[in-house]
């Protein structure tokens, strides 16, 4: 618990700009992916089933919306927040902005794990674009983890 408290209260330091840029690029990819899925969801026409697909089952399943909002639309908002957050940090260099932004993938990872579980065990269909989103979020989480680790080590070594 003390670790978590330290994590939340201490400022983020020893930030790698390179990693932040990587996070931005990855989040833009996530944004594109979620946008694609949202358009597919709203097109309302029947997408043909393709060799690489499975998206038609997943995107038409009962899990494709949360209280009427397409999950992919939430994905757009999520990736957009990360994009803007990281970009805002790169512009202003205010560490607190990056810190808050980098906490988003923690929740994102939870959602991604849940949706991947649903695809494997409940819907029994795999949508490549949904899996790509899960990989992107896992990557963002990994970047976030490294950033916090660097910051933590820095604080401990003072």
């Amino acid at each position: 618990m003390t670790h978590l408290k330290k994590l939340l209260t201490r400022p983020l330091v020893n930030i790698s700009i390179g990693l932040a840029v990587v996070a931005l690029i990855v989040a833009v990819l996530g944004f594109a992916d979620a946008t694609y899925l949202t358009i597919e969801h709203y097109r309302g026409i029947v997408p043909p089933c393709s060799i690489t697909g499975g998206c038609e089952e997943v995107l038409t399943s009962e899990f494709s919306t949360i209280v009427g909002i397409p999950t992919s639309l939430l994905g757009i908002i999520y990736y957009l927040l990360i994009c803007v957050g990281v970009f805002l940090y790169l512009d202003t260099k205010k560490a607190v902005i990056l810190k808050i932004t980098l906490m988003l993938p923690w929740f994102g990872l939870g959602f991604s794990l849940w949706f991947t579980y649903l695809q494997i065990f409940v819907i029994r269909s795999y949508c490549a674009y949904c899996l790509v989103s899960a990989v992107i979020t896992a990557t963002l989480f990994f970047i976030s983890f490294i950033m916090f680790k660097r910051s933590h080590s820095f604080h401990e070594n003072i």
Binding site: V28, V46, C49, S50, G54, C83
Partner: protein, 216 residues
Amino acid sequence: MNIKRIIFWIVFLAVLGLIAWGLIVALNKPLHNQLRLGTPSEVKTIDNARGPITAPVTIIEYSDFQCPACAMYYTLVEQLIASSPNIRVVYRNFPLYPLPHPNSMIAAQAAESAAKQGKFWEMHDMLFSKQSAWSDLPKEKALDMFKSYATTIGLNIVQYSADFDSPTVKAKIDADRTEGETLGINSTPTFFINGKAIVNPQGYDAFKKIIDEATR
């Protein structure tokens, strides 16, 4: 706020906007690549066909019993057949197996086994109209379900079970799928009207129009 930062932000937002706009434009265009598919082989005696041989319009469909889009188009084709006596429909197997449709192969086997007893279309109708009931089942349960369909449509079950795993049934499915791949098919359903690939019509009226044009 200096001009450089403003440009910085405009470029960033423009990139995101362009991505969204590009995707919307790209996805709203029909997939014209389907038109570049090859020409399927002539209808053979081994093919599952219905409708008069002399019909001026032949629809060759490459399809997958577990594909939701195929089940939707099944209802459209049913309406087309009901509306006109001038249509011949040929079903060829293109199971997207093992992924994304793990039950598509056994469904094709069930249909081709029914075909051995002259009841392909009865099984075809059964599989499509009840797709949601067996689509998500584990293999063993789906097999039981197909067997119950076989009973319902009046197949000899002993014969059905023997045919199900027979090399001829598997060879038929493989031959269909291999030909489909040679033609360049990568999604289902894919329709050929009088040998020519069409872009999947959105709805009954659009489909009817294509058929009417081909009849003339």
